[in-house]
Symmetry: C2
Subunit: 439 residues, 2 copies
């Protein structure tokens, strides 16, 4: 959670804030182009947007981390190779089709890189491809190649907002975060993750900066930044075939040291991770589990994830039911099955300021139950409702009204390690979105 | 899946079949009593049922397995101790309160055992306690002690059906399975598991037999039986604080060898496990994932569980959308994060008879998509609908119409090990039940 909590009372106020966040650092340009095509797998017309994020000059200062899924998309396979290249000059990103396990998928993504390079006047190996969308379908290479010169023509150097919007699919609003540091900026955009992009379950994050940082340092900084942010976030426990986080520097602003850069990059990543959860379709509560007293950081993080991934905890919170029994069940489930050598018999559990477990024994009464219910009510992003005439649950708001979370605080009393994990509740809207999305 | 598939065209036909399954083996009696009480944690009236399952004579031939949750209920803590006793004579089971992490919980359960022993004329150490219900509340020991003599008075030796009904909470129907073997019988009843008992997430299974089998053999048989049944079933990935499976023999019928007994016990457990999934509230599709070609059984089982536990797979199947991309995502997610040394690049995937992945590449076209959609439609237990006036989704049927499953068949092409995992879809009814149950 950021120290300053944002509150928006209208979509216009949120849009104005997004615009203010979106100023591009020096040395970058962004362009997008939408087009129609016919996926061969279904034979009916569809729309795709292709986006280009380019540097004015190729850079050695770039880093990327990718999904660990054993069926990675073709762009991820290529992206891992690109890390060995001397320089990167652009990222080309399409939505609608993720190019995962598709016939000749790697060749298709390489052809797209070549088309982008041709339009930009750079080498194909200097282009990192990125795709999100239906798994298993083939990229429309010819249509993409025709659209890319138009996307390049549309490029401008003022705002990253067109990219934040161009990678949206079912997102409620674009996600942009930025920070000022030493006269330069770090700006990041994000899409996806679980509920946010239910058919695809893909998280894509692109970060750009004009702060000078060398190749080794930017890679170290990205590794440090993803751990407490994107790797400490879990929406529906599924890791996609295409998850990608990329950072590039134009190296225009000197004088910032690596520690400060890493801290700032981590803050932008942490804010984007929370935005991803908060923007998840169907998400009505963001859940923040702070685990202390763990023997090591892995235990702290995995116990926290076990809580936010438990369907029973998630549905209880969706219903504003502070069912602390389910929280304890989820903690005990993970520990008993993964670390049976650890006993949580001395553990304490708080919801906000209210203690509900002391020395492994519940401390419950009607007054506490009522107080917990009020905490859940006040953390709702929007009230629940009935489905519309098509049987689909719609969110009442298309902007984030506030940054409140449901605060679950666990002290295992087993050591000094800690971690904070962010997750989401499980609502009717999630089921509607995921059961009905593709068909 | 059993070789003969049951089909019921009415609740009456299902009830008649349950009655026929329920004949008690020789040497057992069953009695139940419901009563009113006031949980101190909420201060408003509630109902509880206490059930007694007793042997005519104490037996040395008993076995039990319990949850691995690190916050086990007091009855589980006591039950583990009871395994060391020379003889067992009864099980006493209450619903409504699970006695987990409650103040003085172990002492409370021991008092209940003492009251049951007194009414039955046996020793307290010969009684195994069992509780399911809200986590964190305290047992009403005095009320339970008053009700137990009445439950004992109600005992009869004809049918296990009163126990099957007496442990029900939000179950749609009682779950009973039996098998005849060598002139004797094995009969089992089950409740709970995830969606079936959403607030409690507890599975309780009691198996009784009159087939003679010694203490060592019955314990070996139960371990063998739970592995491909209850441990290969996953409804919502949560393991409760109270899961318990107990088997007892009255040793009346001689002449059955251990291998035949184990096979028969395994069949009863497997049938009950499928019944638990099929009866889960909100469950509209039972999913069966058969994994072959795994390097070991753990990989086979965990990959299967990853598929049936993926919220994205579960919601797609709920919507009759054969979204095979999500299935591949779930497989790759588990492998990439747990066994990155294994590549599924040669894997094949079938839905029923239809191949959708060959050598790690999708084989999709509009005709296949339509065939997969029909498989999902035909495996529905009941059609989906709109919520009632209270916003709650109700099942259209209160009995299982058939035993059909959604057949997902994966060959990893990495070895000779295999496993079959049974799971469930994720519907609006599940969210309603779990978000609204306790409050």
């Amino acid at each position: 959670m950021t120290s300053t909590q944002l509150v928006f009372d209208s979509a216009a106020a949120h849009a104005a804030w997004i615009d203010q966040q979106s100023a591009l650092p020096q040395g970058f340009r962004v362009g997008s182009q939408q087009f129609d095509f016919v996926p061969v797998e279904v034979g009916t017309a569809a729309k795709m947007t292709v986006n280009v994020l380019a540097l004015d000059q190729p850079t050695e200062s770039f880093a990327a981390v990718f999904t660990r899924n054993a069926f990675p998309g073709a762009p991820v396979i290529i992206g891992r190779d690109r890390l060995k290249e001397a320089q990167l000059a652009a990222v080309v990103i399409n939505n609608k089709i993720s190019n995962v396990c598709a016939p000749d998928g790697v060749a298709a993504s390489e052809q797209v890189c070549a088309a982008a390079a041709s339009a930009l006047g750079i080498e194909p190996e200097q282009v990192l491809p990125s795709s999100t969308g239906v798994i298993g379908w083939q990229l429309p290479v010819a249509d993409l190649s025709n659209a890319l010169p138009l996307a390049v023509q549309n490029m401008q150097a003022e705002s990253i907002a067109p990219l934040a919007s161009g990678i949206m699919t079912t997102d409620l609003y674009p996600k942009v975060r930025s920070i000022e540091l030493g006269g330069g900026r770090i700006v990041g955009v994000a899409k996806g993750a679980g509920m946010i992009e239910p058919n695809l379950a893909t998280m894509l994050v692109y970060l750009v900066t004009d702060i000078t940082i060398d190749r080794v340092a930017i890679r170290r900084a990205l590794q440090a930044a993803v751990s407490p942010s994107f790797n400490a976030m879990s929406i529906d426990s599924d890791q996609s075939t295409s998850d990608t986080v990329v950072v590039m520097s134009s190296n225009k602003i000197n004088g910032v040291d690596e520690a400060d850069f890493t801290a700032a990059l981590t803050q932008v990543c942490r804010d984007l991770a929370e935005d991803l959860v908060r923007n998840g379709e169907g998400v009505r509560h963001v859940i923040e589990v702070s685990v202390t007293g763990a023997p090591d950081e892995t235990v702290a993080r995995e116990v926290g994830k076990a809580v936010v991934n438990s369907p029973l905890v998630k549905t209880a919170i969706a219903g504003n039911d502070a069912n602390v029994g389910r929280i304890v069940m989820a903690i005990g489930d993970w520990l008993g099955n993964h670390r049976p050598d650890l006993s949580p018999a001395a553990a304490t559990l708080h919801i906000g300021e209210h203690q509900v477990l002391a020395d492994g024994v519940f401390q419950l009464n009607p007054k506490t139950e009522q107080a917990l219910h009020q905490i859940l009510l006040s953390a709702e992003l929007y009230p629940s409702g009935q489905p519309n005439d098509s049987g689909v649950f719609e969110p009442a708001l298309r902007y984030p009204p506030h940054e409140k979370v449901v605060p679950i605080i666990l002290d295992l009393k087993l050591g000094d390690a800690s971690a904070t994990v962010v997750g989401a509740d499980l609502t009717h809207h999630y089921v509607s979105e995921n059961a009905d999305y593709r068909s």
